[in-house]
């Protein structure tokens, strides 16, 4: 059993638009080590959800994988036939959606929906399934009596727990969580994240946590991949990426979010401007137009992934000067000047 469960290389996902196509994901590479939580973070539109959905191979009608590979336990998910891919779904790769309210069928009880997965996908008999349902509910902290309830009878946080229970039903190897706590209030967010981390440790799961909230990443992730405009800006261990960001975008992100644990982290400074349109992306580095540290080469040459320390990469021409740029990034005036 290798250390790496999932290895994504140069993944490209495109959308058919009109007569042409648009690359929502343009050459993304990262590894998910077995038994770890990887945070896939970036603003809306950066392509993180597209990557997550590409891993399940259930995408929008006009979306398609246009390049790269996704090696899951040695098998390339991008190349598998639909039949083989379907065999993997939920049994080895599960998904926790953003809004459990909308992802649970309103006309069936929660028990029915759990059983559906356990019996139709897991081949379990009636009694075995029933036992497993109770087990799952216990794992996520909901009393078994509520199995007979309908989705709308649960509160937001509880519904998310149901979604987690569903995802874990068949003991998958990889769980992809797409903004699992975004729709919840802060206190409940923390509870759910704690739950998720405990379960992950308990069961030895590998988790990809997709979020736009960097404080969520800081709270439970082991590794971080920062995406921007369809590409990977930076990736590394969580500590390294957040305490020593080596890409100007990550440096800016850190300034823009309050710490989850409430510790004062300085003035909130948003990054001025907006991400580029992916229909007509700028040449070279996509962050260059908004970057306070951009130099001439940034606008013409796509920056390579520079290994600033073992396992920590940043796609920046000036990655070598990271410590200096980090210092300058701390000051509000650096970001204001970019307006």
């Amino acid at each position: 059993m290798t250390e790496t469960l999932l290895s994504v290389r140069d993944l490209k996902v495109s959308y058919r638009v009109g007569r042409g196509s648009l690359d929502a994901v343009d050459g993304v590479s990262f590894d998910v080590p077995r038994g770890s939580i990887l945070g896939l973070v970036g603003e809306s539109g950066c392509g993180k959800t597209t990557v997550a959905r590409a891993l399940t191979r259930v995408m929008a009608d006009n979306a398609f994988i246009s390049g790269g590979s996704m090696l899951f336990d040695g098998r390339d998910l991008a190349a598998l036939s639909e039949r083989d891919m379907n065999a993997l779904r939920w049994r080895e790769i599960a998904f926790i959606p953003q809004s459990a309210m909308n992802s649970l069928d309103p006309v069936y009880t929660v028990e029915y929906q759990l059983n559906e997965v356990l019996r139709l996908r897991g081949g379990m008999g009636r009694t075995e399934a029933r036992k497993r349902c109770e087990e799952l509910f216990e794992m996520v902290g909901i009393e078994a009596g509520r199995l007979r309830d309908y989705p709308h009878q649960f509160s937001g946080g509880m519904r998310q727990r149901v979604a987690i229970a569903l995802a874990l039903a068949l003991n998958p190897k990889l769980v992809i969580a797409d903004e699992p706590v975004t729709a919840l209030d802060v206190i409940v967010q923390r509870q759910i994240l704690d739950q998720l981390r405990d379960l992950q440790r308990q069961l030895g799961l590998s988790v990809i946590l997709v979020t736009h909230d960097i404080s969520v990443v800081a709270y439970i992730c082991d590794r971080t991949v920062v995406m921007y405009a369809g590409r990977v800006a930076e990736q590394g261990t969580m500590e390294a990426t957040l305490t020593q960001p080596s890409h100007p975008y990550s440096m800016g992100l850190r300034n823009a979010f309050p710490d989850l644990q409430g510790a004062a982290s300085g003035v909130l400074t948003p990054i001025e401007g907006a991400p580029p349109s992916l229909a007509d992306p700028p040449p070279g580095c996509r962050f260059a137009p908004r970057c306070p540290f951009s130099i001439e080469v940034c606008a013409s040459v796509t920056p390579p992934q520079v290994e600033v320390e073992p396992g920590h990469f940043a796609a920046c021409h000036r990655a070598g000067e990271a410590p200096l740029l980090r210092e300058r990034a701390r000051h509000v005036s650096t970001w204001m000047a970019e307006a």
Binding site: W90, E116, V117, H152, L166
Partner: protein
């Protein structure tokens, strides 16, 4: 508990509407131009009969007194005497009601079964050539007068091909012990076929378009996508999840459709000489048999109002989200 409350308030609504329709009917027949007594008294009745009727319906009393007598009579099921047939209207109406209901329900069931399946199929095959042809075709079926369609079907299947009889519910001279005997006899189906088909063709448009529209909406829902991510089979996703959710509004529309269908019945019954309430209403009005006309209209209205109530209740029953705290 709120289920009961909802049911109670809706039943109240039903009573209100019923009362209003009954009152409108009363006013229409009493205030019509000409002899106000003509609504109940046929000039060919004997003097004794006329006096008896005057007393029974209080026709010499002031209008508001007549109204209460009228309501009282109604509650007791007293609808007067038919001019033409010299028998109680209530009896005649009740005897005809089953024929109309059989026609209505059989045609609607066929229409809905077809419409739901075809609608789901068209949603499934979005953007296909079948869809381009089917939708305008369906709209055309709603654009044709039902009686015209009946005439066309008669021309083709009865007069030309001779497969089906041209009208009525039974062959001439055939005797049946009871209505149930008639309905379960083999030949009844041949008589029912064309009128039911006529109504079904006209009515299938609504469930078809509704089901298709609902399916298209539901297929976009997150839980359908989730079902796919779970790796569930197409059947489970489309039928168990999408169709089940899309079906809800269609089922409630069935109840309301019964009410609308009854109107279509009126003309179809006339084309096929089907002895039902619709044809009776038409004949009664043509013959100025006012008590019978009133009775037939009332019976139809009662069914329509009842069906509206059932539609309301059905919705609260079938949707687990409604009725819970």
């Amino acid at each position: 508990m709120s289920h009961l409350k909802a049911a109670a308030s809706r039943t109240l609504q039903l009573v209100l509407v019923l009362w209003a329709v009954v009152t409108i009917l009363f006013l229409m027949f009493r205030l019509m131009p000409g002899n106000p007594l003509a609504a109940y008294i046929d000039p060919t009745f004997t003097v004794e009969q006329q006096e008896a009727l005057m007393a029974q319906f209080g026709l010499d009393r002031p209008l508001w007194e007549q109204y209460f007598i009228y309501l009282g009579n109604l509650v007791q099921g007293e609808l007067g005497q038919s001019f033409r047939y010299r028998e109680p209207v209530a009896e005649r109406i009740l005897a005809l009601l089953p024929n109309t209901l059989v026609l209505t329900f059989s045609s609607l069931i066929v229409a809905y079964a077809f419409g739901i399946l075809a609608g789901a199929y068209l949603a499934w095959r979005r953007g296909s050539a079948a869809e381009q042809v089917a939708i305008p075709l369906v709209l055309t079926t709603r654009a044709m007068p039902e009686f015209w369609l009946g005439m066309v079907l008669l021309a083709v299947f009865s007069f030309w091909l001779g497969w089906f009889p041209a009208g009525g519910t039974r062959s001439a001279g055939a005797e049946y012990e009871s209505l149930l005997d008639l309905y379960t006899s083999g030949e009844f189906l041949t008589y029912l076929a064309l009128p039911a088909l006529t109504l079904a063709i006209y009515s299938q448009g609504l469930p078809l378009l509704l089901m298709r529209s609902n399916m298209l909406d539901v297929m976009k829902e997150d839980f359908v996508t989730m079902a796919r991510i779970k790796g569930l089979s197409n059947w489970t996703v489309v039928v168990r999840h999408a169709a089940r959710n899309a079906l809800l509004p269609v089922m409630t529309s069935f109840a309301i459709a019964v009410g609308y269908q009854l109107q279509g019945n009126v003309v179809v019954e006339s084309v096929f000489s089907w002895p039902g309430l619709g044809r009776e209403l038409v004949n009664a009005v043509s013959a100025s048999d006012y008590p019978l006309a009133q009775g037939a209209f009332l019976m139809i209205a009662v069914v329509v109002i009842l069906m509206n109530l059932i539609a309301d209740l059905l919705y609260t029953l079938l949707d687990p989200r409604v009725g819970h705290a």
